[in-house]
């Protein structure tokens, strides 16, 4: 069943947008229209549909009009021309009251920079839509709490957004949208502001939530990885116009034009995967100045690992110690890690391609640390996780 139908929607920014619309109709480019009329083309004659329960990822580089298109769906941005139908309702012809009830009943929205209300607690943020709807506190509280527990935020109700990490803040953003139980989720680069590891977690979580919720989701992204992972179908945009619509396989195997081709050219599984996208978090580290062999041993035991990375006071990676060395040093009664610190080691940069990692990882007796430009330890790559990620991607293709 078609949940959202977008027909020929255009958005022209600037005074008297009709002129731009005429030029668009005659087939002039965005650049040409800007030069001739000073009008900005946000979206150019976009048509697509979203089926019920489907995730459609709208993808493109920044400035391609994807966020504008999303905002046209609930008319946060007024489309200049075209028609949008949600559940058989012509959204473009709704009056202010009709629009408000549509936004409350059908479309929950999640924003790139979370857009949480800083003066409200987590619970009050999650309640916002229900409050606007006019529900009494006694009715809205349980529903908001349920939405919070859906995204794994039990017990954080009374915290304020600034006390939460980025990932948790976006969970609140998601709960705020889910509390209204809308059929449709509009997600505007919802995970782009998050660290790569957290982003992957959130993507996984969205997918597992989606298994039970079966919402209709329009997801905006500039990240091909993300689009391939989340999208049942992908809508590719360039300069405000849609250049291709298709399943991830179709996009990858049969790119519609040069632009799409360039976009997906990189998608050789080992190339598109970087150290950053396959690394796993570091569960324990030692500090060179404060931790001795015994403390290091204890940390390794607790984390269930046999190699412990050592950081200096500026949190820069200095080397690692092994459990065996640490045990011996402890027996010798040494107080610091200097004698057993191994500083000669292999490291990877976050952007190192996965194919290079395979040869490095071969016979490497310790996990491969991924180190940022500033020398900070971002995560580690282990053989199992790397192969697992590649197998996943193989299936996606």
């Amino acid at each position: 069943m078609r949940k959202i139908v977008v027909e020929n929607v255009s958005k022209i920014f600037g005074p008297q947008p009709g002129r731009g619309l005429d030029m668009l109709e005659k087939g002039f480019s965005k650049q040409h229209i800007l030069e001739r009329t000073k009008l900005g083309v946000g979206v150019a004659k976009a048509s697509f549909h979203v089926d019920e329960g489907e995730i459609v990822v709208v993808m493109g580089l920044s400035g391609s009009g994807k966020s504008t298109l999303l905002r046209c769906l609930n008319r946060l941005i007024e489309p200049t021309a075209g028609k949008i139908v949600i559940d058989g309702i012509d959204v473009t012809s709704l009056d202010a009251a009709g629009l408000r009830s549509l936004r409350l009943a059908k479309t929950g929205m999640v924003f790139q920079n979370f857009a949480l209300f800083p003066h409200r607690t987590v619970l009050q943020n999650a309640e916002y839509g229900l409050e606007i709807k006019g529900l009494e506190p006694a009715q809205r509280r349980p529903r908001a709490l349920e939405a919070l527990s859906q995204v794994g935020l039990d017990g954080w109700s009374d915290a304020f957004p600034r006390q939460l990490s980025g990932g948790m803040q976006q969970r609140v953003g998601l709960a705020r949208a889910l509390a209204l139980d809308p059929d449709i989720l509009l997600m505007d680069e919802a995970f782009s502001a998050l660290d790569p590891l957290i982003r992957r977690d959130m993507q996984d979580e969205l997918l597992s939530l989606q298994e039970t919720m079966r919402k209709t989701i329009v997801f905006i992204s500039h990240d091909l990885d993300e689009a391939l992972k989340l999208g049942d179908r992908i809508v590719l945009m360039k300069d405000g116009a849609i250049v291709q619509i298709g399943t991830p396989e179709e996009i990858l195997t049969d790119p519609a034009d040069d632009y799409v081709e360039r976009f997906v050219a990189e998608v050789d599984i080992t190339k598109v995967l970087t150290a950053e996208s396959v690394m796993i978090p570091v569960t324990a580290v030692a500090y060179r100045r404060t931790d001795g062999p015994r403390a290091s041993l204890r940390k390794m035991k607790k984390a269930g690992i046999s190699t412990l990375f050592v950081l200096n006071d500026e949190h820069r990676l200095r080397g690692f110690v092994t459990a065996d060395d640490a045990a011996n040093a402890a027996l010798r009664g040494e107080k610091d890690l200097e004698s057993i610190l191994v500083t000669d080691m292999q490291v990877a940069q976050p952007e190192t391609p996965a194919q290079e990692l395979i040869s490095v990882l071969h016979n490497l007796p310790y996990p491969l640390p991924v180190v940022s430009e500033q020398g900070r330890l971002r995560g580690v790559v282990i053989r199992g996780a790397l192969l697992g990620a590649m197998a996943d991607r193989g299936r996606a293709q």
């Binding site: 609930n74 408000r100 929205m109 003066h119 606007i132």
Partner: protein, 276 residues
């Protein structure tokens, strides 16, 4: 050279005359409302014996500012005022400031909200505020007299006019500073214009609005002193008397009281505004 002089002053007089003759219903309403409010405030403050009121104010200062230093300063400062025999004049000045500030805020905050919500309103209000803030304070005393005659109501009228601009400006600024993303989010969740104002914009703008109110109170205090010239009495009246009789010591004492009151009001309001 014989360029005719433009009758700007005359025009202004004609405007004032017009208001005096045709808008007496408003001036009378304002006069009785503020006169009543002022009597109530003053009587209310004088009901308590000075020592008790001083304790109450010091306690209030502690509660609002959460600062023992501010509370201690209030206590000592007010006791000093009492000791100098200027307690009643101080209470009278406080009542004037209270009533004038309340009147100013009740006009200024809605005006600031209006200016923030509507570009045309903003374009109208902002130049007027520029003029109001550069016009010398004394000038405001003159039109107050034909409207209300000499006395406290005239003093309050000129004080309200003089002290309003910062509250309007900062209310407008505070609301315009609300991040566009939050505003968009409120709309995406179906908020009406008023729901957005009351649930998002006003709460977020509150610290800025409080800063504006703080300035308004300070300006009101400075103006009720000047307004002693048209019969405001209070501490300003003491200063004015001291000038006319060349009583150096009396004038200094009254001036000191004004400083004490100003410091207390400023610190309490600043801390209360910054608390959130």
């Amino acid at each position: 050279m014989n360029i005719p002089r433009l009758p700007i002053g005359e025009a202004m007089e004609a405007v004032i005359d017009f208001f005096v003759t045709h808008c007496s219903i408003f001036t009378k309403a304002f006069a009785s409302l503020t006169g009543y409010g002022l009597d109530m405030a003053e009587a209310g403050l004088l009901v308590l014996p000075p020592w008790l009121l001083i304790l109450v104010i010091a306690g209030l200062a502690l509660w609002l500012s959460r600062s023992r230093a501010v509370a201690a300063f209030s206590l000592v400062g007010l006791l000093l005022i009492w000791n100098m025999g200027l307690w009643e004049a101080t209470v009278s000045t406080l009542a004037l400031v209270l009533v004038a500030t309340l009147a100013a805020i009740s006009v200024a905050v809605p005006l600031g909200v209006g200016a923030a919500m509507n570009r045309t309103a903003e374009r109208l209000v902002m130049p007027v505020l520029d003029v109001m803030q550069t016009m010398p304070a004394f000038v405001y005393l003159i039109p107050a007299i034909p409207f209300f005659g000499l006395g406290k109501v005239a003093a309050i009228f000129s004080t309200v006019i003089f002290s309003m601009p910062p509250a309007i400006r900062l209310t407008c600024l505070g609301i315009k500073q609300v991040p566009a993303e939050l505003s968009e989010c409120a709309e995406a969740f179906g908020s009406s214009r008023w729901q957005k104002l009351f649930k998002l914009e006003l709460p977020l703008a509150m610290p800025t609005i409080m800063a504006g109110i703080n300035q308004t109170v300070m300006l009101a205090l400075s103006m009720v002193v000047i307004a002693a010239m048209i019969g405001a009495r209070g501490l300003g009246g003491e200063v004015w008397k001291a000038i006319q009789r060349l009583e150096m010591g009396r004038g200094f004492e009254a001036g000191l009281c004004i400083v004490i009151v100003a410091v207390i009001l400023d610190r309490v309001l600043q801390k209360a505004g910054a608390r959130k």
